[in-house]
């Protein structure tokens, strides 16, 4: 078992000396190549999720499969270990099956295109790009069925196959893939765009090999990886304490009435190595919220965060991976056994970022940000339009950015890199929709010396009968505040029927039927606050109130009393602030808006929706892995 790489020229690359300047030149060439890959896919893809929102990510890796430029880390060694066959010049691989590539991608919607780059007969590098397809078949439009119990319900599973062989498209494979999706035109164009992007990287690697020579290119990539290794050795010593620290957070439910689900992690350092142990994480779910987390992906998340916090200039790659030891218990939410369903993993994926932030923050509180990775809330809307043509929308929403050491969280922006919202005019031109408003939600950001960003409310008026699906979270738990900052507002969804009734829509649901004239109000969460809100200058609170980013009542949570014209009433403010300080409890690093039992008890009263049941006992899902 394992990939067999067919090289037509013999001999490994030789490590040769490379000057700093040439290394930097190669680094910027590789970085440019990666930017070009982005440009190609965003311009030529068709599904709004990729072309407008940019849900696609490239990497370029060295011959050993370590990512030299890109983000979301390398998954090539997972592929190499899992693939049983030859790897030849002119091959392009395709897979979407997390279980057959050791979690290189984490649900079936993500189609991964992977290409070995040979130069003069020898393997020189790899390029890859994964992209979220709007639909990959399965039981519901959008292929993210909330109630799936097995991956078989979530769409076509494409094991690692060659989609190109000898630089020729393998048409039969493509036909099978496209036959199994509801939007074959989009998938075809998106896949072609991915292939164009990885092929572009091949051209760039060839140019670099010719310009500098293959040994020098190889050596420079090694140096780039070593730079990260050396830099992270310092970073880890600074941020990971030898004494273990723990953090836990939750996703609220699985959409089937079960929840909340806990993920827990303990971190400590032994010499140069940092250990992350996920013992204490809940067992895998019986539905689709599981997140098949590859340890390498976690290493990437850790690296992305620490590098931003401690040295934004560092150039980021896989070089430091050997310094991290990630332990994930088999059969838990983060390492479920096949055939567990995986489609709705977005909630746990997002929560992982909050978890890392909370974990690292304990070693260096002043560098910590509030929480804000609720989920990447999805809205799906599909049906047949007036002409009888199928339409299918997949849209990702955004909330407020968490408050940060450098200042307020930004209102209504994306935590995901490169993501953008879909313009209202685009939605209205291509889908039977009228958007009644897109506005930030006052008071939804967590109060703090630095205010958390506000979430967004979008009002969708449906003009054709159809079905909607929703995937969202943080409707029970709050995005937490830090260092005295307060927890932020939660997400909520309301459907006002044309017939005059109104209903609350749960955070995860499928096939909710809508009729023309029904309006969905989709409100996202805010970002957690940072620092004590009573220390926020009253004039900033007043300025936010004047432009509707907070309300008069919201200002009171900062201890600021606003007068008639929303100017601060200085005397009343001073008095209120004294009172708040006097009544404050003991200082705490985190404000969760209440502990989990409290939140569940208050759930129905506060959200209008019943609290979920505690997940069933682990015994039920423990079976031998099915391969």
């Amino acid at each position: 078992m394992g990939a067999r790489i067919i090289e037509t020229a013999a001999g490994p690359y030789t490590r040769v000396p490379v000057s700093v300047v040439v290394t930097d030149i190669i680094e910027s060439s590789l970085r440019n190549a990666r930017t070009e890959m982005d440009a190609v896919i965003f311009r030529t893809a068709m599904s709004p999720g990729i072309r407008e929102q940019h849900d696609a990510f490239p990497i370029i890796a060295n011959a050993a499969g370590l990512m030299v430029v890109g983000q979301f880390g390398s998954f090539i060694h997972g592929f190499l270990a899992a693939y049983d066959g030859t790897v030849e010049d002119g091959d392009v691989f395709l897979t979407n099956d997390p279980y057959s590539c050791n979690g290189a991608i984490s649900h079936l919607n993500d189609w991964l295109v992977l290409m070995p780059i040979f130069h003069e007969g020898r393997l020189a590098a790899w390029s890859a790009m994964f992209a979220h397809m709007t639909d990959t078949g399965g039981r519901v439009p959008g292929s993210l069925p909330t109630d799936a119990q097995q991956i078989f319900e979530e769409g076509i599973q494409i094991p690692i196959v060659k989609i190109m062989r000898g630089n020729e498209l393998v048409d039969d494979v493509l036909k099978i893939c496209l036959r199994n999706t509801r939007v074959p035109e989009w998938n075809r164009a998106d896949l072609m765009a991915q292939i164009a992007a990885v092929k572009l990287a091949e051209r760039r690697i060839h140019e670099l090999s010719r310009r500098f020579g293959p040994d020098l290119l190889y050596s420079a990539m090694e140096i780039l990886l070593e730079r990260n290794l050396n830099a992270f050795r310092k970073v880890i010593r600074e941020v990971v304490p030898e004494t273990p620290v723990s953090f836990e957070d939750h996703i609220d439910d699985d959409g089937m009435g079960n929840g909340p689900f806990k993920i827990a992690c303990t971190m400590w350092r032994e010499g140069d190595r940092a250990i992350f142990d996920f013992a204490g994480t809940d067992p895998q779910s019986s539905s689709s919220v599981n997140f098949y987390l590859q340890p390498e992906q976690f290493k990437m998340i850790f690296g992305a965060y620490t590098s931003k916090l401690f040295d934004p200039d560092i150039v980021f790659n896989d070089g430091y991976y050997e310094l991290l030891d990630v332990r994930i218990p088999e059969g838990c939410l983060l390492r479920p056994r096949r055939p567990a369903a995986l489609s709705c993993r977005t909630h746990l994926l997002c929560r992982m970022f909050d978890l890392v932030s909370g974990l690292l923050g304990q070693g260096k509180p002043e560098a910590m940000c509030g929480a804000g990775w609720s989920a990447s809330p999805h809205l799906m809307y599909s049906g047949f339009d007036g002409k009888g043509d199928w339409f299918q929308l997949y849209q990702i929403g955004f909330g407020g950015l968490p408050a940060r050491p450098v200042g307020d969280g930004v209102d209504g922006h994306s935590l995901w890199p490169s993501f953008m919202n879909i313009p209202t005019e685009y939605l209205e031109a291509y889908f039977p929709l009228v958007i009644r408003h897109t506005r930030v939600i006052a008071d939804s950001g967590g109060p703090g010396l630095h205010r958390g960003g506000n979430g967004i409310s979008i009002a969708y008026e449906f003009r054709q009968a159809g079905d909607i699906s929703i995937h969202d979270d943080r409707w029970i738990t709050h995005p937490w505040g830090v260092n005295g900052g307060k927890a932020a507002g939660r997400s909520r969804r309301r459907l006002d029927r044309a017939a005059g009734t109104s209903e609350l829509v749960p955070s995860k649901c499928d096939r909710v039927h809508v009729e023309p004239g029904d309006i969905l109000y989709f409100d996202t969460w805010g970002g957690g606050g940072w620092g004590d809100p009573v220390q926020r200058p009253a004039e900033l609170v007043s300025a936010d109130a004047k432009v509707g980013l907070i309300t008069r009542e919201g200002a009171l949570r900062y201890g600021v009393v606003l007068g008639e014209s929303l100017e601060p009433d200085l005397a009343a403010t001073a008095a209120l602030r004294r009172e708040l300080v006097a009544n404050a409890g003991p200082p705490s690093s985190f404000d969760f808006g209440g502990d989990i039992e409290d939140l569940l008890t208050r759930c129905e009263a506060e959200t209008g929706l019943p609290a979920p049941r505690r997940p069933p006992t682990p015994g039920r899902m423990s079976h031998a892995p099915v391969t």
């Binding site: 200039d313 958007i435 897109t438």
Partner: protein, 696 residues
């Protein structure tokens, strides 16, 4: 280049090109009869740029004994609009939006630049209109043009006064779907004129009638933001000029390289944001026509940034957006890429990674490079050039600057130490890295667009371009490297030699299967008439057309050109064929999916100048008469002896062997070892590698 003597006997008219830079204002006077050229360089006057223009006119006319009233037209590339955006010094703008969408600028596209985690440190630039100056209007037009809610006039009349209280100086009206139907915007404008008299109003359906509410709103807001500034600047300049030269016409260069009347510029200033760089490209095209290189890359390197563009068949590529720093608007501009790399770029070594980085931080004019004795202490690209001997310290730059080599060496020590290099090695590293950054920009406009740079010449200008051009030519394998005459005033050449242009466009979303040649012709006809009407009366116009095309559902729009002749053919088939071909060239694949039209436009251009050219006197092939001195330079780790020449004394046909340094008033050109320069008959220097047969 020596100024030619005036011909007193011939009564002739003149065209004046004026380029206002950060430090100097360049003027170039062209005698229409014979193409004779007169130049002047005066210090810029940032407080009121027109002062320098008038000073320059005085100097150039007095010095050459030219009667002022002979100046028929003043053509001008201006950075007034650019600077207002860059320095955030535009006017207070109010914004009317559709009810429910007041946050259109506040939320934008929800985009955070950078990699995963970049949001942690990102500082968001504040929108050009604060939320306090946004008013929602109760109105709604749908995507198919139907009026869903009529505009509530009474409420608008009340609400708009809040903007008066905010003391706005200009107003933008941008309603949802106004790209389909602008009637509500026009109605709101009427009301605004009545309720807030004297306030300039820009409406999105006129400024940028294209889909995507955020982009259209930003574009219209920028139009408002710089509008009053551009208008008062143009009005002021026009009236000052008219006082001295009663019949003079003022023309302003557009970002897309065309010219507009002063009036048109004041009405749509968003079209002039990149007026400055466009001047350089059009000037380069003019030089290229003389020297006979139709395909070339431009390389305009200044103190803080470098602008590059691709020109094919004497036509620069244009694109549908203009970027000024982080402000990106939907207005046509020449496809000029800018990188933060220039003579003033600062080199540093980050502690954690121990790499060598250059820029984008710049020492600017103040404190400037360390060697310039104005208090700069950080090592810049200019310091590296001085240490390596490329910029001779004893040759006065622009006649003014004092240069101290020791200060440059001290500054470079700062990076040489941590890198374990000698000062000269570090200086070469700085040059190599900055060249690589600029090489990256040149690749963006060539390789990444499917062009092979080996098929192009490289035209270098700007203060520092001729110093780095030979090295860039070698990286790109673009030969020859062309150093035009007067590389420091090339923008003014561009200003003086371009044509009036006007454009009219509209959104026209149609699948190819749902439209016909007749329908497209019917849509284009009024656009052509509209575009031509925007030119001066009497100007004979040529009209060209363009359609933005994409595969149905795709995100890009690709502009495809149509000539007047094409209109008689099967337009959909022509467009489809050209689109597939271009798509394949750019992205390696074409699809058999259905394609659609998105926008269509017509561009009218007035007849251009056909300036006579004046060749340089021929020499005997040897540049010996221009030789000034010899210099030690350091290149590729070894010392070489370079010859120093005075450009003004070079003659046509001279062959200059590298290594050589050629100086002129404000620019220094470097010819590297293993290369030579040929002085072409119009004065350009063409640099070739010695191991390549010259094609002069």
């Amino acid at each position: 280049m020596a100024d030619p003597a005036p011909i007193q006997a011939v009564p002739t008219s003149y065209i004046l090109g004026v380029d206002i830079g950060g430090t100097f204002t360049d003027l170039l006077l062209v005698r229409e009869a014979d193409g004779a050229i007169f130049t002047a360089k005066v210090p810029s006057t940032p407080a009121d740029p027109s002062v320098a223009v008038l000073t320059g006119i005085d100097r150039i006319t007095e010095h050459h004994g030219i009667p002022r009233e002979r100046i028929r037209t003043v053509m001008h590339g201006t950075t007034v609009a650019t600077n207002a955006v860059l320095t955030r010094s535009g006017v207070r703008v109010g914004l009317l939006t559709t009810k429910g969408f007041r946050d259109v600028l506040h939320i934008g596209r929800s985009f955070v630049p950078g990699n995963l985690g970049a949001w942690v440190t990102w500082q968001r630039p504040s929108p050009l209109v604060p939320l306090s100056s946004v008013v929602e209007v109760n109105e709604r037009i749908l995507a198919d043009g139907t009026v869903d809610r009529p505009l509530d006039e009474a409420a608008l009349r009340l609400d708009i006064h809040r903007l008066g209280d905010e003391r706005i100086e200009a107003l933008t009206i941008s309603f949802l779907n106004a790209y389909v139907d602008g009637r509500h915007e026009r109605l709101a404008r009427e009301i605004a004129h009545e309720e807030l008299p004297g306030i300039q109003v820009s409406i999105s359906s006129e400024v940028a009638p294209e889909m995507y509410e955020y982009e259209r709103t930003v574009t219209t807001v920028v139009n408002s933001y710089v509008g009053p500034i551009v208008k008062s600047y143009v009005d002021n300049l026009q009236s000052l000029l008219s006082r001295q030269i009663p019949s003079v016409n003022l023309r302003i260069l557009r970002s897309d390289g065309g010219l507009a009347s002063g009036e048109a510029a004041a009405a749509a200033p968003v079209n002039h944001l990149m007026s400055g760089p466009a001047g350089g490209v059009t000037g380069a095209i003019w030089v290229a026509k003389q020297t006979g290189f139709p395909d070339f890359l431009t390389f305009d390197m200044g103190g803080t940034s470098t602008d590059v563009a691709l020109v094919q068949g004497y036509e620069a590529r244009t694109r549908r957006e203009t970027a000024v720093h982080e402000v990106i608007v939907r207005a046509p501009s020449l496809d000029v890429k800018s990188v933060g790399a220039g003579g003033g770029s600062i080199a540093f070594v980050p502690a954690l990674t121990e790499a060598l980085r250059v820029g984008p931080r710049s020492a600017g004019a103040v404190p400037g490079p360390a060697a310039y004795c104005k208090g700069g202490t950080e090592p810049t690209v200019t310091d590296a050039n001085i240490v390596l001997g490329y910029l001779p310290a004893d040759v006065r730059l622009g006649g003014e600057l004092e240069v101290d080599v020791a200060l440059a060496e001290q500054a470079l020590e700062k990076i040489a130490g941590p890198l374990g290099l000698t000062v000269r090695e570090a200086a070469e590293g700085v040059i190599d890295i900055v060249n690589e950054n600029m090489f990256g920009a040149l690749r963006l406009v060539s390789v990444e667009q499917g062009y092979d740079p080996r098929d192009f010449a490289l035209m270098a200008f700007g203060g520092a371009g001729p110093l780095h051009a030979n090295a860039l030519g070698a990286l790109l394998q673009s030969w020859p490297v062309v150093i035009p005459p007067g590389p420091g005033v090339l923008c003014a050449y561009g200003d003086a030699t371009t044509r009036l242009r006007n454009e009219s466009s509209r959104s026209f979303v149609r699948r190819f299967g749902d439209t016909t040649a007749a329908e497209i012709r019917a849509v284009l006809a009024p656009l052509a008439a509209d575009a031509a009407a925007g030119l001066e009366e009497g100007a004979a116009a040529t009209v060209s057309y363009q359609a933005d095309v994409r595969y149905c559902g795709q995100g890009l729009v690709m502009p495809i050109d149509l000539s007047t002749a094409d209109l008689q053919g099967d337009i959909p088939a022509l467009l489809r064929e050209r689109f597939d071909r271009t798509h394949e060239q750019l992205f390696v694949f074409a699809l058999d999916s259905e394609a659609e039209l998105v926008n269509v436009r017509a561009t009218a251009e007035a007849g251009g100048l056909d300036l006579a050219s004046r060749p340089l006197p021929a020499g005997d092939g040897s540049p010996a008469a221009a030789e000034l001195d010899r210099r030690r330079i350091f290149h590729h780790g070894t010392e070489h002896e370079a010859t120093l020449y005075d450009r003004a004394r070079l003659r046509a046909g001279d062959r200059v062997e590298g290594p050589a340094i050629i100086t002129e008033m404000d620019t220094t050109s470097l010819i590297l070892p293993g290369h030579h320069g040929l002085v072409e008959r119009h004065g350009s220097i063409l640099i070739y590698p010695n191991d390549m047969p010259a094609e002069a």
